[in-house]
Symmetry: C2
Subunit: 531 residues, 2 copies
């Protein structure tokens, strides 16, 4: 195959042209500009060719790396972040690819394009255009690896779902509940080579399969059109050597992440998740992960969100290149007073990217009730962190959403949507007095949210912690939130505050009648005190 | 005063002699060797003189910094950590102090000298001689600042107490419950200068008062003789500018910590606590603290334990120079499943150096019951972290132990001693299955400790999590631990294990009768299964 390619190259060596780009092409801010170049002179275009382009707009300059896309074609992609005219010039060790110039016009974004999601105010996220972003994610490890029909069905389901983030694996899984043969592989096989017993194939780790990546890219754009961020998992342990992508050499690991970042960093809705359950990838050390982390960060000219997900042992989330905590913890969202401890330790946004799944699996991690899933989302949101959903219902005609997608069966998803609506109204929540009142939070808009969790009281005496700092005489409107039945009911009474040492009460000690079932919350809106 | 000193110096300039050290003085390993030199040539001996000594034993070499001790005397102290003959040579910018040589013989330690406490196995501590050390500390901010009689009384109380660590402030406090005028100050006053309104004095921050430090050192040695580690708090916010030690310039801060470390690093029972409630010292930024941290670490040739205590906001405990987490949290030890989250985040030993105090103060932080104080110690120990005690009883004849010492009044202290005895038997505890069974721990000796906390069950069905990994048929001895009444009772029944998916039970489903009151624990000791 190598020799055939070289032979063909002789005839194509002079045919270097720039395709698909015209002078002053208009590209939306945070959109994607792409140059396609052809050149047939490289022995192995994946490994032998260095190709970059410098894009310049006024004093701003961004260097991006190109990549080989098969059939003698090279691509350079660029996501302009500043409106105006950008000029570029290419650089390459192949003379035919070097010194090419052109320009594009970056124009204001429109429609569902708010730019990349970034960290905001230590613990939160927002889009580049300053629109707030609250991650309400779901998990579908093998979204990319079943058949096209199921992918389309999954996208239709997502379009109707409350989810604005999805965790997907780049590499295929071979795992309980998920042993389908993938349709695409990221690498080409070494032709005629016989794999070791128990291995799927002998891969040529120096030659990626562009078809695999074209498919991935199409799906990332599909997600983007739905307003869904793609938290792309670069490595995972659910392979155990069968495909062998969990135990490549360090050089191959680094070549892989560079290729992925070169292809995908211009996709504004991509987040880098270095691994799912990093500590279960036993062939790699913490030092290996630091090198992968640094490589991804250095290769990405835009600074996409970047984290790594744990099994039992947390990674070094305080590392400056890690933008947020992507944490698995089966118990942190199970009781009041826990999730916030992690936020306090790391001083970064915390996303609980695994809190067990809603479903009927026999494993304890795959058998939450819809009530419990919803409750854990509330626990996370209450302290200004975020949970991520997953579903593991298994029946004759259905295999776990979190493995393969298709349709949602659980009761949690709509309630998560209801919670998302509340958080979009209140803004991110912060515990008001975190050592004493773990269920009283304040939104950035000043409203107070009190979550009663699994308690089923018949009434609630008006009270907020003194640290709420509402002046005496403040009038407060109270709403009753039924987090399970998804209703918000105004309480007719008007409440007026009176401060004590640690608590603010109603000055007539008024109470609110409650329905006596669990999963209730109260939303309090203060009105300016009269003069 | 300056000019008088200079005048005297003219007559003493040639009288440089080495005092109090003879050839081959014998010093215990981790003991203290001291050289005294005299020289009267310096204008300001605190700021103008550089003095170090290089101690060498075979291939090992340690450079220590000397300090000015008043009356034209300079001292160099050294803590040998290796047995053998050490030779030294001094270096100074004062010719009379430079190039002096001598030697000492480091001999094996005896008695209560186990060396410095250091971090062991990520989460634990041990002495340099490998003896385990489990911190059971107490707090007495103004130990140094009342009268001598009370200091002596405090030492007698400590000698009878379970505590092996004490947190004390170097600087005096001026604070609610603690406004006594100190007897010693760390600095000399500028004679005749009139302080601003509200200030205690005008200090000459370039001239320390050696009497203050001699007093401190005597007390640190007193504590050492009792086997008590001295967690020395270098800065604190309980001053509000009255003494002004909370708002010195950065240069003065750094000169201060260098002087303290030069004087005290040869004391094996000293730990550096950069601050109490660092985040309430509002004149300093995180960057200031990092510089103080680096200065202390660089000045200390032995690597004493080094941390910083928080108010509401944690410091960067993951910083490589911070040896362990010294954390205030009023709620982390209040419920199962919390304290361990912090340990998992930082991957360092965690000492909860403030969990509220046992007492009758009107503040919520100073009014724990003895039961609650004991309970919190158990919560900390159960997850392999450690709590620190404090007492805030106030009456006509008694002011808070945690402010001024004297006598202990609380009910917690003896129960803390009882717990210490159990941990010394089991070794440090680790939660067996931390996301599911937050009250089941295993000691490093293989025993399982189950803490029932505030629950008052009448009986307990034999059960441990499967991750305990006890084989089927293992015989287990059960002991009932009454953590409040301080009794350990053997259960007559013999239990034999049978494994399920997540739990190991007794194969006959035997139960243990419990007394029906709270604060009980069970201690399980497996015997090797018969062949």
């Amino acid at each position: 195959m190598n020799s055939k390619l070289t032979f063909t190259a002789v005839f194509l060596v002079l045919a270097c042209v720039v395709l698909r780009t015209s002078a002053q092409e208009k590209i939306e801010q945070w959109g994607r500009f792409e140059i396609t170049l052809t050149d047939a002179t490289a022995q192995n275009p994946f490994t032998d060719v260095e190709l970059t382009a410098i894009f310049t707009c006024g004093e701003e300059s961004v260097t991006v790396t190109g990549f080989y896309d098969g059939n003698n074609r090279y691509k350079i992609r660029f996501m302009p972040q500043t409106i105006g005219t950008w000029e570029y010039v290419t650089r390459s060790n192949l003379p035919g690819l070097s010194g090419l110039t052109g320009e594009l016009e970056c124009v204001p974004a429109a429609g569902r394009n708010n730019g990349m999601v970034q960290v905001h105010h230590t613990y939160d996220f927002r889009y580049a255009d300053q629109t707030p972003y609250y991650p309400f994610g779901t998990t579908m490890y093998a979204f990319l690896h079943p058949d096209t029909e199921r992918e389309e069905q999954t996208l239709r389901t997502l379009a109707q779902s409350p989810f604005n983030k999805i965790r997907i694996c780049l590499f295929p899984k071979t795992y309980e509940y998920n042993n389908d043969e993938p349709r695409y592989f990221p690498y080409r096989e070494v032709e005629g080579a016989v794999p070791y017993s128990g291995r799927r194939a002998v891969w040529d780790f120096s030659r990626f399969d562009p078809d695999f990546f074209a498919h991935l890219e199409r799906r990332i754009d599909d997600l983007g059109r739905l307003g869904i961020e793609c938290d792309l998992i670069l490595f995972h342990p659910y392979d155990e050597g069968y495909f062998g992508f969990d135990r490549m050499s360090r050089d191959n690991d680094l070549r892989y992440v560079k290729y992925v970042v070169a292809r995908l960093s211009s996709f504004r809705n991509v987040w880098w998740s270095l691994a799912n359950e990093w500590d279960l990838l036993r062939q790699k050390t913490r030092e290996d992960w630091i090198e992968i982390l640094e490589t991804v960060a250095q290769s990405d000219p835009y600074g996409h969100l970047l984290s790594i997900h744990n099994g039992k042992v947390y990674f070094d989330y305080y590392h400056p290149l890690i933008t947020h905590c992507s944490i698995q913890n089966e118990s942190a969202c199970e009781e009041f007073g826990r999730a916030g401890l992690i936020k306090d330790c790391y001083r970064k946004p915390v996303v609980f990217d695994e809190i067990c799944y809603e479903g009927n699996f026999p494993n304890r991690w795959g058998s939450l009730s819809g009530q419990e899933m919803t409750y854990r989302f509330w626990q996370a949101a209450l302290v200004g962190t975020y949970a991520t959903h997953g579903e593991t219902f298994s029946s004759d005609d259905h295999i776990a959403w979190t493995e393969k997608g298709a349709v949602l069966r659980g009761e949690g998803a709509p309630r998560i949507g209801f919670l998302r609506g509340i958080i979009e109204q209140t803004g991110p929540l912060t515990i008001i007095d975190n050592w004493r009142y773990p269920n009283f939070s304040r939104g950035s808009n000043g409203q107070v949210v009190i979550y009663l969790g699994k308690e089923s009281p018949q009434e609630w005496s008006f009270m907020v912690p003194t640290r709420t700092r509402w002046a005496d005489g403040t009038k407060v409107k109270v709403q009753l939130v039924d987090t399970w039945n998804m209703t918000i009911t105004d309480v007719a009474d008007e409440f007026v505050t009176k401060r004590g040492q640690y608590e603010i009460n109603d000055r007539e000690m008024k109470t609110v009648q409650l329905p006596g079932h669990p999963y209730m919350a109260l939303m309090l809106t203060p009105e300016p005190a009269e003069e």
